[in-house]
């Protein structure tokens, strides 16, 4: 009977280093003779550069070099597009516009890089940045999505006919016919605003060109080291083998750290090669709000066709999506939005026009949730509104429309972010819903608690929102597993890690196969010198795609081990078991050999190995799913609102998560908690405040409000529900973004429930106490008018 590692609450391998300040982050790298970069960024959101005067800055002692686009020759040009539009969506329009390392003529969002100072230390570099004088001709700014498409709107890219960045239409069935059959049509307009990812570690890059070895080493907080290696080599005319990119410990990613290529990522290696000196740039917090991508602004015009008894016949959603000044990341976010608009429900008829719009705002790329949160917000809000209009119970309408457990794989026909058909591989939405209701004690609260509290003048509300999350998409990831003669196991992958616990969950997968202690499995991520292939950390795909690659490689090593051992121990393979770092004969535990010894035998110094055998106990394998896995879950919440100050206090919170096979519950729960905290931000706290001139008015952690320990619920109760994915051997589905996805919809439902009788209808997120106050004023005045 062999020990199990998968599914256990195992303490993390990476923690001791992180807990003692011994883990290497990019800014911890010190190289003799290292220079420091600081950027002169545009104060204007849209302006023509008339002149840049760096003469005073150059004079400053300690300044080594200053570069503007003029100094870069052809190298100032933007890089190639990162993600192309979906070829599988018919008649898709896409205008690709990318950011340049340094702006040559026109700045298109506040914070764009205009010049870079390279100096002996960061303090001097920042002094010199202040010396640089840039003369601008301010140009009219457009920040509003609808205005941007108006014929008379200022244009972000004057070579285009308009600010339309992309258009994409997707449909399933025939919405118009569904509409014709419907008893009710509900129409609403929804507005979702922009938030930032705010990883605790800002971005950072160190580039070190060694002229003697003709090698470039780059430390980068990127989520995608391999593509950065490939792209950097291409840009600098080097071979891949001349570039090594290391993404060491990274202090949170949440999406934006993948945006290849940031101007700084293009510029630092270039400058290092030019100066033959190592150069460090560490983004500061204010820069982070302008220079790092953010997400979520969309404007939706939605129509839902229903029968009298609450069956959804069809959904139509035409929406505008803000892509900021450039669109290097293609249509990933709006594709995700479309993929989630139908939520967990059977919707036979669906129609969605998506128009991506250029604005004079920082670049938009995925942030945890990545368009999914918007989709779930729309569908769940529409259902809540439908309940009120049809007089149906909110639980009832959801139960009625859930995709039944026997309908999987469920075909949604439209195309998802992986450019393949949106197919839900597995799930049991009804059961997850039921379990969540029990955990929050829904029935009792509504029947007993709520009336009792309300009679005491307490404004309490309850909400429940199910959701799905498309995860674990391709193209592929890989891993190499090798048993060392010490008996310890080395695993390397090209994947980047930003706190997800890969050093432990991947190790558990290996331990399960090879019977070694988790602590004896050493995982190496994010170093292109260690593993050559990979894409990156996005779309909640680590556990699925890398996990299964690790599993495949470990299984191959297991086969090699058994083959070797059965020879050495003169026992048939099926009588052997791997446990405690040994291979032993099942019935005769004394008869065994350690994995270390086997590894030594597999790499002899004399004699001959059989033809065809590879040396060592090592295997490399890859996993590339045809389509993504679809995780699901359900959140429930009870909150109390102070009806006078509009301050909200969350009393209870429950989550049920179906991410297929759970590798490590501890880690999954951590992911969920973190997601919820970010989702709460998107619901009530986190809004990037742009003024009409494209200035961010809250580019500091004092004014951009990420939740603290006090804003979180006292306790998040987490339940797991496992429906295994048929798409991979481990049966896993992703969970990284899940926690954030349903929260704004949940929060809105809970507020409306708390204010029942005040006809509060929430059609936007994020809210704030001030905004809630205004909405209630409006609802009051409209009521008075109608009376």
């Amino acid at each position: 009977m062999t020990k199990h590692f998968i599914g256990e609450r195992i303490k993390r391998n990476e923690d001791p280093r992180l807990l003692t300040g011994q883990a290497l982050f990019v800014d911890d790298v010190e190289i003799p003779g290292m220079l420091h970069a600081a950027f002169k960024r545009s104060d204007y959101a849209h302006a023509r550069i008339l002149s840049i005067d760096v003469s005073t800055a150059r004079e400053r002692p300690g300044v080594v070099a200053i570069f503007t686009a003029q100094d870069m020759g052809e190298d100032w040009m933007p890089g190639p597009p990162l993600v192309s539009p979906p070829p599988t969506v018919k008649d898709v329009t896409f205008h690709s516009r990318r950011q340049a390392p340094l702006v040559k003529d026109i700045v298109r969002h506040a914070g764009e890089t205009v010049a870079v100072v390279i100096a002996e230390n960061r303090y001097i570099a920042e002094d010199a940045v202040e010396d640089i004088l840039v003369e601008y001709e301010p140009l009219p700014v457009v920040t509003d999505l609808e205005q941007a498409l108006a014929p008379d709107s200022p244009k972000v890219h004057d070579d285009l006919d308009s600010n339309l960045a992309a258009h994409m239409y997707q449909q399933k069935g025939d919405y118009e016919s569904a509409k014709a059959r419907a008893d009710t049509i509900i129409k609403r307009r929804f507005y979702i605003d922009r938030g930032a990812a705010v990883a605790m570690e800002n971005r950072g890059i160190i580039a070190n060109w060694d002229e003697k070895s003709k090698q470039l080493t780059m430390w980068d907080t990127t989520q995608a080291p391999i593509p950065i290696r490939n792209g950097t080599a291409a840009r600098l005319g080097l071979s891949d083998s001349q570039v090594r990119v290391i993404a060491p410990f990274v202090g949170g990613g949440f999406g934006p750290k993948i945006m290849m290529f940031y101007p700084e990522e293009m510029l630092l290696p270039w400058a290092s090669k030019k100066l033959c000196r190592p150069i460090k740039w560490i983004e500061d917090r204010r820069e982070n709000f302008y220079a790092t991508t953010s997400e979520r602004q969309q404007l939706h015009d939605v129509e839902m066709a229903l029968t009298r008894d609450g069956h959804i016949l069809g959904l139509k959603d035409d929406f505008l999506h803000d892509t900021g000044a450039f669109d290097p990341y293609g249509l990933t976010i709006p594709l995700n939005t479309q993929s989630h608009l139908m939520g967990s429900y059977v919707i036979e008829n669906f129609s969605s026009n998506c128009t991506a719009v250029f604005t004079n705002k920082p670049i938009v790329t995925p942030v945890r949730g990545a368009g999914r949160q918007q989709g779930i917000f729309i569908i769940e809000r529409m259902l809540d509104i439908a309940c009120k209009e049809l007089g149906i119970d909110p639980l009832e309408i959801r139960r009625k429309n859930f995709i039944p457990p026997d309908a999987f794989p469920y075909h949604n026909v439209i195309i998802d972010q992986a450019f393949s058909e949106l197919i839900f591989d597995s799930g049991n939405y009804k059961a997850v819903f039921k379990k969540t209701l029990q955990m929050i004690d829904y029935e009792r609260f509504v029947k007993e608690e709520q009336p009792r509290l309300r009679s005491k003048g307490k404004l309490v509300g309850i909400a429940i929102v199910p959701f799905i999350e498309t995860t674990g998409v391709g193209p592929y990831e890989g891993a190499r597993v090798q048993i060392e003669t010490s008996g310890k196991v080395n695993v390397s992958t090209g994947y980047g890690t930003q706190g997800q616990g890969h050093f432990t969950s991947f190790a558990q997968i290996v331990s399960e196969q090879l019977g070694v202690a988790v602590k004896d499995v050493h995982i190496i991520t994010g170093d292109t010198a260690e593993f050559h292939w990979g894409t990156g950390s996005f779309a909640s795909r680590g556990a699925v795609v890398v996990g299964n690659a690790v599993h495949a490689a470990a299984s191959s090593v297991r086969k090699k081990v058994l083959k070797q051992a059965s020879k050495v121990l003169a026992t048939p393979e099926d009588e052997l078991e791997l446990e405690d770092g040994l291979v032993r004969v099942a019935d005769i535990p004394a008869k065994s050999i350690s994995l270390g010894e086997l590894a030594a035998l597999a790499n002899p110094l004399r004699g001959a190995v059989e033809p065809g055998t590879e040396p060592g106990l090592e295997a490399t394998d890859y996993f590339g799913p045809q389509s993504g896995t679809t995780a699901s879950g359900c959140h429930a919440m009870i909150l109390e609102v102070d009806p006078e100050t509009m301050m909200v206090d969350i009393k209870r919170y429950a989550v049920v998560e179906d991410c297929g096979k759970v590798l490590n519950p501890l880690i999954v729960e951590g992911q969920v908690h973190g997601g919820v905290s970010m989702g709460l931000g998107n619901a009530f706290y986190e809004k990037l405040q742009f003024d009409e001139n494209g200035q961010i008015l809250n580019a500091s952690l004092a004014d951009y409000l990420i939740v603290t320990s006090f804003e979180m619920p006292p306790h998040i109760e987490t339940g797991h529900f496992e429906t295994l994915s048929p798409l991979n051997k481990l049966g896993t589905k992703g969970v990284g973004e899940a926690g954030a996805i349903p929260v704004p919809a949940l929060f809105a439902q809970a507020l409306e429930n708390a204010f029942q009788g005040r006809d509060l209808e929430i059609l936007e997120t994020p809210l704030s106490p001030n905004r809630l106050f205004e909405l209630l004023q409006e609802s009051r005045t409209t009521k008075e008018k109608s009376q």
Partner: protein, 292 residues
């Protein structure tokens, strides 16, 4: 985000400090706890060319009775020390209640009473509370020394009555007479944020239980701590009924303050909150007064 260069002095006595301030005038800035000044320097919004570091002056950190039930507080006394001081808790409970609302635990270990007042942030608790309590501040320069009443100290946003060569060295806060009550109410976006609106109130009842005197001062609704004179006028000599308190709250929020709009709250919402908080603060203050 690195601070610009500056000339640095680390005097160990007040006299030395005053000499530096006299020599450098407007270009010099005293550095107390630095919890407000250094962020502004890191953002390069503040670029003083001379910093006079007060952290080596040992004899400016103390809390002692003033003989009339009030206290003297040395300007360099850290918030944490004030917050945990039994004399303050007993004699000046309003300050004791205000301290936990200042910044974060880590800010309170460094931030100082005098630094907070000299910074004159219209959103700062101690600024408001010191006015509510009718405190007075001892200010020294090389040439002379003067006491400035809290009510006259704050003349504008981040602007105090301090001359460039002057240093706030000591704060005197009187204790409340018997039959007095106090309250501090705030609404902030997050637990540690600057309040959208805050109000500090003290009331004193006469033997008949009428309001003998009161003081209501707001934070975050003007360019200085805003005193609700008209509301106080309504209360004086009256029985503090629920109706009267409502009227006072209404008056205070509509007439006595001048809130502005920013990214966190509109002027209208601030007036609404001021109304709600004044009512709650007066309720609590009068209840406490009846108990004392």
């Amino acid at each position: 985000m690195k601070p610009p260069p500056f000339e640095y002095y680390a005097p160990t006595t007040v006299e030395e400090t005053l000499t530096h301030l006299a020599n450098h005038g407007y270009d010099a800035k005293p550095l107390a706890g630095g919890q407000s000044l250094i962020p502004m320097m890191n953002f390069r919004l503040a670029q003083p060319s001379v910093l006079v570091d007060l952290n080596n002056i040992t004899d400016l950190s103390y809390i002692r009775p003033d003989g009339n039930g009030g206290v003297f507080i040395g300007a360099m006394t850290r918030h944490k020390k004030v917050g945990s001081d039994p004399l303050i808790a007993k004699q000046i409970p309003l300050v004791h209640e205000a301290i936990p609302n200042i910044g974060t635990p880590q800010v309170r270990t460094r931030g100082t009473f005098g630094g907070s007042l000299s910074h004159a942030d219209p959103s700062a608790e101690l600024v408001t509370v010191s006015v509510t309590l009718n405190g007075r501040f001892r200010v020294r320069s090389q040439k002379n020394e003067r006491w400035i009443p809290a009510g006259e100290f704050f003349i504008g946003s981040f602007t105090s009555a301090l001359e460039p060569e002057e240093l706030l060295v000591e704060i005197n806060l009187p204790c409340l007479p018997e039959r007095s009550g106090w309250s501090l109410m705030e609404v902030a976006r997050r637990h540690n944020d600057f309040a959208l609106v805050g109000v500090a109130a003290t009331v004193t009842l006469d033997k008949k239980g009428n309001c003998e005197s009161a003081s209501i001062v707001f934070l975050s609704v003007g360019d200085r701590p805003m005193q609700a004179h008209q509301a106080v006028g309504l209360l004086k000599g009256q029985k503090p009924t629920a109706e009267l308190i409502l009227a006072a709250a209404e008056k205070a929020s509509s007439v006595d303050i001048d809130p502005g709009s920013d990214i966190h709250a509109t002027a209208e919402f601030r007036r609404h909150l001021a109304n709600v908080l004044t009512r709650r603060a007066l309720d609590e203050a009068f209840n406490r007064a009846r108990e004392n």
